[in-house]
Amino acid sequence: MAPALAWLTALMVVPCGLVLALAFFRRGIYGGIEYTFTLENFGLAFDPLYAGIFLNSARIAGTATLIAVVIGYAAAYAIAAAPRRLQPVFLFFAVLPFWSNYLIRTYAWIVLLNREGLLTQLLRWFGYHGEPPSLLYTEGAVITGLVYNYLPFVILACYAPLARLNPELGEASRDLGASAMTTFRRVTLPLTLPGIAAGAVFVFVLSIGNFVTPALLGGGRFQMIGNLVYDQFLTANDWPFGAALSMALIAIMMLLLTVQAMAAERASGRARTAEGDAADG
């Protein structure tokens, strides 16, 4: 455990600590740092504009997470149920698309969702002759892009617990008379919850910091937290304010994650009891 911690401390805690400490100072006239202590950046960070952007980002990221988790879990479940020797193949093909480049995948979506794009042409082929639906540059397009790009991560995260689920538990549950749905709800789901939780965290944190998808698929019409932090550091050259925003963001996310971790612990604790009961029974 030690080497990992040492790495993280040296290469994350220290450097980020130094940059985040800048939150207590002020941006110089030309974008340098003026070393006068101030708390104004934090006050500004909680301004309604930025709070609104954060809530909006969380909403979009949350929706994407929900959709991705449902689809990803279903896919992981199906993969784990497939013949054992095919499972690595399925996983491989799940991540293969993401060894291409993010930008061209996004451009491919633009081609699909364009007003005169492939999807519209498909609709026309089926006889639809109205105004082309505006699919691109909408929130839906952004969410689709986010779900698409982070789906494989959910699949990978959910697959591990599902793959090693003891089949006897399912059999025992059915032997005891529980329906397939109940078995799933009371045995499978709780035991694989840590995987779901991990996948959900991945999608949420990756989505909320994403700034390429809202820019390209959202047509710049949506400002997400990722854009905001990026702008402060690079466009406004205001490292102190960027640092303050980041600290606020990190604090809130840490809170959410702690809550989620506690909930997961409680759920898997209950599951372990269920597992113990089923094994005894």
Binding site: L8, L11, I71, A81, A82, L156, V205, A271
Partner: protein, 263 residues
Amino acid sequence: MAERTHAGRRPLWLVLALVYGFLYIPIAVLVALSFNEGGLPTVWSGFSLKWYGSLAANKEILSAALNTLIVALVSTAIATLLGTLLALGIEMRRRHGRALEALIFAPMIIPDIVLAIALLSFFSMLNVTMGLHTIVLAHVVFNLAFVCSVVRARLKSFDWSIVEASSDLGASAITTFRRVTLPVLLPAVIAGALLAFTLSVDEFIIAYFTAGAGRASTTLPMQIYSMIRFGITPEINALATIVMAVSIAALTLSQRLNRTVAP
């Protein structure tokens, strides 16, 4: 998980068909565009192989692709090792502080621009020579956290009694790890490694800031993002198509080898 009965199988295959359809439709578009005569990413103007030709001659893209591969492989290897050990270390303790949890989640939460600038300033302060190795160092930071997360998820339902049984039976710690723990963890470790590799291969911001200044440390995402000012040419689509084709070929080959070798 035991293979399902016939009755349960069909809906599962349907799920897989739908999900993989969703995943691969844009890929089909992407591949099709690599044969686009014109250079515009969103307008089709005819069939042509010219982009594959110009790709073969494009030294910058090819060397960037090689750099990306090196960075991804090395950082994945290191991160998988460290992340797995970290996950084991944490789950083996009865209780661990909130601070430790926070530390492990931090690389995922910190906005990548912050990590990017922080590392560059830090390396600069220490007068470290920048290059591919600094990108690797940076990528391990977040890859580590993702691997750890995936492995921990598996460990939460791990039956520690078999480890105890193994040492009760006289096996050393290393043997126990090799013969008992690792085989059980293997799917999670592989999943984590795949995750780390995928993240690293397509990562731009941190790579850009922690790379040295020079062709030798330009990665593919850096090269591609820079093309955005004058338009991404279908050369990139051609490259992506080739990458996927090669990967599929490698997989097919390894499957075939496994079949001949395995009993």
